[in-house]
Symmetry: C2
Subunit: 128 residues, 2 copies
DNA sequence: GCTTGCGTTCGAGCGCGCTCTAACGTGTAG
DNA sequence: CTACACGTTAGAGCGCGCTCGAACGCAAGC
């Protein structure tokens, strides 16, 4: 069974080694294996889990909530409904966030339109 | 010419009065008028500007960048091209961000699908 | 066997964007 | 004239999510 050092893990996930240890400390990553000399030995499953965590982070889930999720996960399948609820709530928030961003984006485009006119209008010596 | 107290402004924008003063301190809002007793008297233009600032914030522009924009704005029309450039760069970032979020969202939906199966499968006594 | 490099823990520090406190001035109602 | 709400400033403090430093251990090459 292939394992990864913390450095390899850092490269795989883009997280710093500091952050990897931090995530473990605060309970986001549970029970990372150790090799003979006490070094962390991450499994493939850990890679997948971290990538999932990063997805949650990237979509704006607060670390505190990710912690709850991680806790439930470590408690086994009985908590699957709770995790499902959390994910669905999160999905709604992300969908809402995208809609909001799209609204803002449209207004920013309008603003850019105004600026384009302004800049074009005040250009010294327009071509033709 | 209608003006607003800081409290009215707070209600209009959703920013706290603390934050309104903070924004002024750090240079995001320039030259707010004062009434006879030294109280801030925000103009309609200030409202519009703040709403624009909030749009930039909500789309993830860092305050430091907003400061540069505000500075340029206070320097007059000559800086319009700079502001246009900044807005276009920002627009690209927002568009990219939305795409990224949509990608993550899709994977989260898949995860939810897996959880639904898991939860459904382990349900005690499913109906029919 | 010593250097070099990667690993360990624990705890302090930091950057961002606010948020709040203290001490004090203003203005209207009773 | 007093109460009380609302305003002012300068500056300290905070919550989040890392990020880094100090002091130390293990291991592979010269």
């Amino acid at each position: 069974m292939k394992t990864y050092t913390i450095r390899q893990m850092s490269r795989q996930t883009g997280l710093s080694v500091h952050t990897l240890r931090y995530y473990e400390n605060i309970g986001l990553i549970h029970a990372v294996g150790r090799d003979a000399s006490g070094y962390r030995a991450y499994s493939e499953a850990d890679v997948g889990w971290l990538q999932f965590l990063l997805r949650l982070r990237a979509t704006g889930m607060p670390v505190s909530e990710m912690k709850r999720f991680a806790e439930w996960r470590s408690l086994g399948e009985a908590t699957a409904p709770d995790r499902l609820d959390m994910l669905e709530a999160h999905r709604l928030r992300v969908e809402e966030k995208i809609r909001t961003l799209e609204g803002h984006l449209e207004r920013i485009r309008e603003k850019i339109g105004h600026y384009r006119e302004l800049v074009r209008g005040s250009d010294p010596a327009p071509p033709d």
